[in-house]
């Protein structure tokens, strides 16, 4: 009997789509369905194949006759990530059309960079033709369906919705108290959680900035995750995030790979999962938060707004993130008779006189003012955002030109690399110095303020 071939990243490879596929394959195989898995990355899949280029797609075509169906989890690396130029991508799309004609193909679209098609009508046509040749095309939300229709021009009725969490199962069954105990978290704190791969697009730094502004004394933000790949851009972002967190008393960064069970234990332990993504299509973390019925705050990017539940608050800016974090915290603080994010909880009929009211409000204003040490200066912001000195890319539209550029770069690398490294080091040292100065200034300001209060001024 021919088996269905699921083409996807797969465990133990650390990846959201891998985790998604593992859960679906487990459930369906347990039901007796004949399924095998092919993965482009090292994994427990039955088969491995390097995908993302022409040769990978050709090899898949050769396997088509051995299977009853292909279910393809679509994201850039698996479809065209190894292509060197548009011509090769077009050849890949043509090959996928042939695959879809040779065997029924079900697409689960997780991620497609539609800007690929902006300057190439031919590539867009080929992609649309591929979608038409498929047996079924699924996305996870209406927003993603609308984006697909707009970008590629396919008929909306041919794009179906697939519940992201349909096959999700809990990997941890511990109670909230057990979860907090096992993670060493304070049972009396309000826990915001940002979890997943740490990279700029995930926007976890925005949560730290918001925490600095809401002054929620009984709240903590825990950022849990690791870098998926070792790349300068990710390492630099992680360094910046570490630096930012180190300047905050109530933000904590836990860098490292966590097991599936620990991942779910973190979600169980959290009061609110914060996903201030800058870029995403749909989110497995949001789906897991829903599985545990945890309130979430998510950015209005990709299909997140659609994907959320009644417990999901959608934000469109840093200000809204701050406001929503403040609201969920205040609601908890009021329920638990804790200080609200404004620093002072006003009970009904708590004050009797106008003077008391003014006094209380002044306290409120003082508590909600941002602490000097947690406010990042404009000068440091400029320094930190100053782009890293990049080597020029060797990629060109012509393969010959690319090779020539690459050769030249290799020839001059021994001279250029030390300079680039020196400039980057200088930038880091300068940023660090400014950060130290800011902290010293903040400490001095606090001393002056204490001294003024002590002298009754």
């Amino acid at each position: 009997m021919f088996s269905e071939l699921v083409i996807s990243p797969y465990a133990p490879y650390r990846d959201g789509i891998a985790s998604y596929t593992v859960q679906e394959v487990r459930v369906r195989r347990k039901r007796g369905e004949n399924i095998e898995v092919l993965s482009p990355q090292p994994s427990a899949a039955h088969h491995h194949l390097e995908l993302g280029g022409f040769s990978g797609a050709l090899s898949l075509l050769r396997r088509a006759s051995q299977h009853s169906r292909f279910t393809v989890h679509v994201y850039p690396e698996i479809m065209y990530g190894r292509c060197r130029n548009r011509i090769e991508r077009q050849a890949v799309w043509s090959m996928w059309i042939r695959i879809a004609k040779a065997v029924p193909v079900e697409l689960r679209i997780h991620e497609v960079v539609y800007s690929l098609f902006e300057n190439s009508a031919r590539e867009k046509r080929l992609f649309a033709k591929f979608l038409e040749a498929c047996d079924s095309v699924y996305v996870h939300s209406d927003v993603e369906a609308a984006q697909l229709v707009e970008a590629v021009g396919v008929d909306r009725k041919n794009v179906e919705l697939f519940d992201h969490g349909q096959y999700f199962e809990k990997s941890s069954t511990v109670s909230v108290a057990q979860a907090r105990q096992s993670l060493g978290l304070d049972p009396n704190k309000f826990i915001f959680l940002s979890i997943g791969f740490i990279q700029y697009q995930k926007g976890f730094d925005r949560g730290v900035d918001a925490m600095a502004k809401i002054s929620a004394t009984a709240a903590q933000l825990h950022i849990v995750g690791s870098a998926r790949v070792e790349a300068d851009v990710i390492t630099d972002f992680l360094d910046e995030l570490e630096s930012k967190v180190s300047g905050s008393e109530n933000c904590h960064l836990h860098v490292g790979y966590v097991s599936d069970a620990d991942f779910d234990t973190w979600i169980q332990a959290a009061d609110c999962v914060v996903l201030p993504y800058r870029e995403i299509w749909s989110s497995s973390v949001l789906e897991r938060a829903k599985l545990f019925e945890r309130p979430t705050i998510v950015s209005s990017v990709g299909g997140l707004a659609d994907q959320g539940s009644a417990e999901t608050r959608v934000i469109s800016s840093e200000l809204e993130l701050e406001a929503e974090m403040r609201k969920v915290y205040d609601s908890w603080a009021n329920e638990n008779k804790m200080e609200s994010s404004s620093g002072v909880m006003m009970e009904p009929n708590e004050v009797n006189s106008g003077a008391d009211l003014v006094s209380k409000l002044k306290q409120t204003a003082g508590a909600s003012a941002p602490k000097p040490s947690t406010v990042r200066s404009n000068s440091r912001s400029k320094l930190e955002n100053f782009p890293k000195l990049q080597r020029p890319s060797s990629i060109s539209t012509s393969r010959l030109r690319s090779r020539m550029k690459s050769s030249v770069l290799k020839l001059i690398d021994w001279q250029v690399a030390p300079v680039a490294s020196h400039v980057d080091g200088f930038q880091k040292a300068t940023t660090s110095t400014v950060r130290d100065l800011e902290q010293r200034i903040a400490a001095l300001e606090a001393m002056i303020e204490d001294s003024n209060q002590g002298s009754g001024q």
Binding site: A11, P12, Y13, R14, V22, V25, R26, R29, K30, V37, Q41, P42, S43, A44, A45, H46, H47, H48, S171, S172, T173, S182, L183, G184, S226, V229, E230, G256, Y257, V258, S259, D260, A261, D262
Partner: protein
């Protein structure tokens, strides 16, 4: 309520398999089964850890005290990436996490075993995986970490610090250590926030020894030092030969070795090294008793059962001081000498060979050390105690 099955998951299992961790797993499985627990071994069809060739038949074998469920190994990767990345590991170079994943996958791998466990976790009370660096532990040990015990068998080596093992060890519900130094090292590298216990391991005590029978069987007529195990770089075999070569001119002693792997002898060494190949446990015990000293050249030991077997047989040990565990055993038992470097090993061999009475005397405390610390009754008590606490019968059933 019926007890769920305790699963032991070694990469290899069977009478022909050579390997310390595999032996501990097999004996623990049998020991717990004899105490009335429902135990099963889940393993591959391989015997040889160089080729990982499928030699046993796949499927469930219920013929023994402990049922064995075997899965075929996938031979659909060529090992080129593992060799290339392995060279970087040997050179102590930085290995990025992507390369670590590739390295772990490009060797022993059984997708059928992984899927069986993924789909049948409900049938097991818990699963015990060892040693840490094999794919069976790395991949299958992450399927349901809440039901997982890792027996890492860890020692200092670059792989011990790989990122890919962080979720395996940090996530596991429990860790079984064999010795204190292993627990210290693992806690230094990993963030183990869940349960852990030094359960130890044990060696069987032979009813008697017949050293003469061994010498007669293999035609050995002069004093010898002995090494049993895998003859490979990772076990310090080349260092043993180099140290032994330095002693050749000053003593007539021979080196007898048993086990698997290429010897790689020079012409000079060929006259003095006797390879008896893969031998029975009984022959190995007799060889231990017949030897002037047992040599343990490996610096990558997490328990070192052969050292304990030598002491049981009344034979002193010459061992590599770079192995924290073996140095710890020698320090506590005072029944051997821990050498530092090849020159020192050569001197030790000469010293032992020229002073056989003193060597015998040195071994006198070794047997008591093993009998006091490494007997199955107390080890199985430790294991049962942790199982009862970490995976109470009835929970989740």
């Amino acid at each position: 309520m019926e007890e769920l099955t305790i699963g032991f998951v070694p990469p290899r299992y069977g009478d022909e398999v050579v390997g310390g961790a595999e032996a501990v797993m097999a004996e623990a499985a049998h020991g717990l089964a004899k105490r009335g627990h429902k135990v099963e071994v889940i393993t591959t069809c391989a015997i040889d850890h160089y080729t990982w060739k499928n030699e046993y038949a796949p499927g469930l074998d219920n013929s023994g005290l402990v049922p064995v469920r075997r899965f075929a190994i996938d031979h659909n990767s060529n090992g080129v990436a593992r060799k290339r990345i392995g060279d970087s590991i040997l050179a102590n170079a930085h290995v990025p996490v992507e390369a670590q994943q590739l390295w772990a996958n490009d060797s022993l791998r059984s997708s059928e075993m992984w899927h069986y466990l993924s789909e049948n976790m409900d049938s097991y009370r818990c699963l015990i995986f060892a040693p840490y660096q094999f794919w069976t532990t790395y991949a299958c040990g992450q399927i349901d970490s809440s039901k997982t015990i890792i027996m890492p068998c860890m020692h200092e080596e670059p792989e011990a610090r790989f990122d890919i093992y962080q979720p395996v060890l940090n996530g596991a519900e429990g860790i079984w250590f064999l010795t204190d130094p292993e627990a210290d090292l693992t806690n230094e590298i990993y963030n183990l926030t869940k349960s852990q216990q030094i359960v130890g391991a044990a060696v069987d005590v032979p009813a008697s020894y017949d050293p003469t029978a061994f010498c007669e069987k293999y035609g050995i007529t002069s004093p010898f030092i002995y090494y049993a195990g895998r003859r490979e770089w990772g076990k310090g075999w080349q260092d043993l030969l180099a140290g032994f070569a330095k002693a050749l001119d000053r003593t007539d002693i021979k080196l007898v070795t048993s086990g698997v792997g290429e010897l790689g002898l020079t012409e000079e060494l060929e006259k003095r090294v006797i390879d008896v190949g893969f031998i029975s446990d009984n022959d190995r015990n007799n060889a231990m008793a017949a030897a002037l000293a047992y040599v343990q050249p490996s610096d990558r030991e997490s328990f070192s059962r052969t050292v304990l077997e030598a002491w049981l047989a009344g034979t002193p040990v010459i061992a590599n001081a770079r192995s924290a565990v073996v140095a710890w055993h020698i320090d506590r038992s005072e029944a051997g000498y821990a050498y530092s470097g090849v020159e020192d090993l050569g001197e030790a061999i000469v010293g032992f060979a020229n002073n056989p009475s003193a060597a015998k005397d040195l071994a006198s405390t070794g047997r008591d050390y093993v009998l006091t610390n490494y007997q199955w009754d107390s080890i199985l008590d430790n294991m049962e105690h942790t199982l009862a606490n970490w995976f109470p019968v009835g929970e989740g059933e």
